[in-house]
């Protein structure tokens, strides 16, 4: 299995104005919500060829994942972090790796990827 080193952002509040600051690069990301115990738990992982556009979609009416859309429309302390990853195949492999690590509640199924990559998740 090939190791891949990527650089993650800090936790960023999931707000349109913060997403607008992102580059239009491809990459991977995960969404978390602050729980009653004060910790942030991952509830969704994703990858995109255009991070900014994908994250904005999550906050818009166009979001196709109905459960996710419903969750994000409710009050809550939502944050995200992302990492820039240029290659689409690597994005998908890391998305699958994150899915297996977190088993996030709002991903409807395991992302598909045949690439055998292990990236750092922090």
């Amino acid at each position: 299995m090939a190791k891949m080193q990527i650089e993650w952002s800090k936790l960023i509040p999931l707000k349109k104005e913060n997403i607008q600051e992102l580059p239009t690069s491809g990459g991977v990301y995960r969404l978390s919500k602050k729980s009653e115990d004060g910790k942030y738990y991952v509830f969704f992982v994703g990858s995109a060829e255009d991070l900014k556009n994908k994250l904005l979609t999550h906050l818009s009416e166009k979001e196709p994942n109905v459960r996710l859309k419903q969750l994000l429309s409710q009050p809550g302390d939502f944050v995200f972090r992302y990492a820039i990853v240029a290659e689409r195949s690597a994005q998908q492999a890391i998305e699958k790796q994150m899915y297996r690590h977190y088993i996030p509640e709002y991903n409807p199924e395991e992302p598909k990827s045949s690439l055998d990559i292990e990236a750092n998740l922090n």
Partner: protein, 231 residues
Amino acid sequence: MTLVIGLKAKDGIVIASDSKASSEITSNNTVQKVFKLGEHSAVGIAGDGGLAMYFLDQVKSGLNHGTGVLDLAEQIRIKGKEKFNDFFEHLVPDKRPALSLLLAGYTTDNKPEVYTLNSRDNFVPRKSVTGFECIGVPYIADYLLNRLYEAEIKVDAGEELCVLCIQETGEQDASVGGPTRVFTFSATKNFQEVLSADIEKLKEKNNQFQVRQKSRFYPEDPNTGSDNPAG
């Protein structure tokens, strides 16, 4: 080793097993461990595979299936004790191989019952008080069934629960494995096997269920990450 599970559902009985037999150096994934007795009764067996098969052939012959599962349990007790004493009269009880049976069926007034019988105590039938029983390698399955089983469970959900128990045990204990086989029947529906394709679908569904809460153990660390991550 083996895992056989029998459970009473609201609308029938589910009996399921793995299909792995193993010795010290070899293993085989094609072993049948659940057998139809009548149309509305079945038995699962755990222990020395070859002995179990021969013992069952001997015990099954001449059983009267029309008198309800309670009487069936008693018939198996008498025959089992007789056969085992015959087979192993040269061995003291502690040195004899052990066989466990799981018997499921209906009473004469159509109530489902599950019994376990063990050679170590002369096949005295033990009636399930929980609605389910496991023989072979029962620990993980017992835990899951204690957590997840309710008497209101329907047969289709019972199939799913049995598959989950065998799947989880197989992932933790190498002596349980091979294709999972599931059988159902009721007081009015005849004994039948669930299609292997349907079992695979249940396994896939279970894969989604079993680790659903994993993210609870890996919260985000707010102290890591950079302001402007580079590609």
